[in-house]
Symmetry: C2
Subunit: 512 residues, 2 copies
Amino acid sequence: MKELTSFVSGTWISGKGKPAELVNPATEEVLATTSTEGIDFGAALAFAREKGGRALRAMTFAQRGEMLRAMSRAIHGKRDELLSLAIANGGNTRSDAKFDVDGAIGTLAAYADLAPELGDTHVLVDGDGVQLGRGARLFGQHVYLPREGVAVHVNAFNFPAWGLAEKAATALLAGMPVISKPATSTALVAHRIVEILIEANAMPEGALSLVCGSSGDLLDRLGGQDVVAFTGSSITAAKLRAGQSVVRDATKMNVEADSLNAAILGPDADEGSEVMNLFVGDVVREMTQKTGQKCTAIRRIYVPASRVAAVVELLRERLAAVKVGDPAREEITMGPVSTAQQLRDVREGIAKLESCAKVVLGGAKPIADKGFFVAPTLLQGDGPKPNDAVHTHEVFGPVATVMPYGSNEELVALVAAGGGGLVTSIYADDKDFVRRMVLALAPFHGRLVLGSSKVAGQSLPPGMALPQLVHGGPGRAGGGEELGGRRGMTFYMQRTALQGDRALLEAIAGKK
Amino acid sequence: MKELTSFVSGTWISGKGKPAELVNPATEEVLATTSTEGIDFGAALAFAREKGGRALRAMTFAQRGEMLRAMSRAIHGKRDELLSLAIANGGNTRSDAKFDVDGAIGTLAAYADLAPELGDTHVLVDGDGVQLGRGARLFGQHVYLPREGVAVHVNAFNFPAWGLAEKAATALLAGMPVISKPATSTALVAHRIVEILIEANAMPEGALSLVCGSSGDLLDRLGGQDVVAFTGSSITAAKLRAGQSVVRDATKMNVEADSLNAAILGPDADEGSEVMNLFVGDVVREMTQKTGQKCTAIRRIYVPASRVAAVVELLRERLAAVKVGDPAREEITMGPVSTAQQLRDVREGIAKLESCAKVVLGGAKPIADKGFFVAPTLLQGDGPKPNDAVHTHEVFGPVATVMPYGSNEELVALVAAGGGGLVTSIYADDKDFVRRMVLALAPFHGRLVLGSSKVAGQSLPPGMALPQLVHGGPGRAGGGEELGGRRGMTFYMQRTALQGDRALLEAIAGKK
């Protein structure tokens, strides 16, 4: 039995006490155990702040970019091993595992690519300076410098590789040391990634720590220069927001939580059109990839009333072809959900959705004796109201609901009833319809994907968070922002207005 | 006796029950009473969101700028009346009152000036777009649109005019309706300003509401599209951060709280030099303007050990000339603090500081039979440690402490011990010293003011928050950001990444 250790204060360390178990969700075999009891988180924080923070701040953006490049390459060098671990511990198909691991490699590389344009310097300049007085000499200039604390990253079980890497890439390029806490249930991949990075000597000492298991009193020990970035459920997010460091010391917190992402088929999309095909392909992929366990997966499908029957038929046909089973077998196209608890939650969630929609494929019933399997489940709702479960409850599995819409105003009100989401996708060639939807729905979303025949051949799926674009959303989605190139870095930095002699400010900001 | 009303749901309304009293802090005469008991805050929010939000979002940035211009002019037209109210209700000298009221007029005008460059459009474009795929067609573009909720502004007692106006200017230009809650004790000025603006018909209906007195259940009724901007104590800030809307619904919150702002005299500043004169002038002004009741006032004065005696002597001489009394009298240069509670807090605060420093001028002892008066109080500490009161407790009155420093590292550690501040000012011509200080202190501050002989003739005081530069600070200072031109507007807007056909995105973003 493998025992996972944590990497803190520059060393691998085991916890004491009763360990948590990590299982293969297809076979329920126990793969590893881990505990963090007895680990000195105060010392871990001090080590990261002092050793890691100091070392990172001494590096320029360009040097930090080289570090990210080395990290990306080290992970790429062990890609096959990581894919196998993801298949065993995550219930991932090989394709799911690639989405996670290649996402990690790619995001680290994208932030490495961003570094040269930030320069061989330590100061990130924010916009142009501004003359403050009547004379030309008195000037203001905003700059960003890294916060002098630790970035604690609390990641979700669904993306052990990408979650670790996308948050770490942003923080490390900004110049903040990271303590990363993967979800315990699927921590094998994250643990191996940190082993690989430490073996490769890719980062300075203290720049990256790993906590495998409970975070104990780690979060209560944070202060005003530290930050927390959390991905997970809105219930856990609410607990963390009420934590004493956040409330009392203004520890910055970024949250990415539940999201009832929508897909909208425009009134102009005919059956058999490129736009309709793009729409159906995206919905099926988003429902089944990672067994629907993506915060960006499509949960609500809005279709013109006259097209509901046709769309349900197309989706039912495609979803019926999905092969559910142990993803270690090559012919399987959808694995189990990740844990026994997730399976219970998905089944209860389907029952909730049935209060306002009916199952047209799949459903909550067991489909295997062993393993956390659930069938791809499509529901159809004829007129759910804004407060109904389909607009308020995220079912984190291969489950989505098709609903009709009438007027544009009604459609906007229904999508907005989700209370804030990560991404909604709009499939239409009618520019006026798309423009109206964008202006009305943007305040409720972090990202809007516009699928049209012009981009049908090269479109990227809505469920894929891109390093160039912000990932996050308001309200229910947590109110956070990650990625988006340098936008995501500013969470890890303090913006400071400098006010004084123009020549002096420009010298400090590296503008001359 | 004047009874203050609140302006909600498009009408002036009185509360029931036992009212709070507003007094003249120099004479303790009761000037007015107010209550909000029985006001339907649910209806007030709905009215602001539906009427105000809809009207503002229908306006372009240019049109909102014209609205701000009309607001600025309307207030300017009643300037003298407002100054008299501030003198009576705020304990302000005429100069203090101008700082507040002219700050309001100027900040509204500055945001009106900003509007034309944002354009005759509804979409705020965020940076350049980015090519996402191999082909040139698939593109990403970030845009900002106004949040579709209400901005609740909870202001501090010290700036009833500027506090209302600077927050409202930013929110209204962004396109969000405002419910403004001034501190009850000094609400006369804010109340009159809103009366003036309503009489002038400067804003569309629902765009600006006013709550004079307790906010009741207003804050618990907010949701994921609403925001709260708070200025006040860190204790109240902590309570608001733990509020159910913030914790559960990700209601965005911006806090500006306590700040132990520092002034640093560089090692190269000789007695009689321009830099030394600038330093002494700034310290005296920041200690006594508004009777030291400014979140940006200088609290900690760091001087090279060899210059402490000389600096204390210069400050003592200047502070001894301050005339304390009823600011209705023309010869008075410093009024009382604003409330009996403030006076108690300042006296207790001076006692706390005496645990690590000694009083060299003034002190906590009463100096008048009536009115909330306290003497300008200078303390000298010979070696306070980072955890001592001078670095951890804000005394919100005309009180500051002179301390020596040795090495640069020691100086940085002491300033940083303040736990995050709004502004620190550095007085030196030695460019290398200034550069080192800026890079080391920026992560702990929202603004750094660099006083040198090059700008001595035109320098703006550190205590003056400027519309062009961000106002806020990390940690103890609340972790917020206001103003800074369009930077402050983004709090009131949702940033959304649009992903799709380049030509379509550029049409929506108004780039072609």
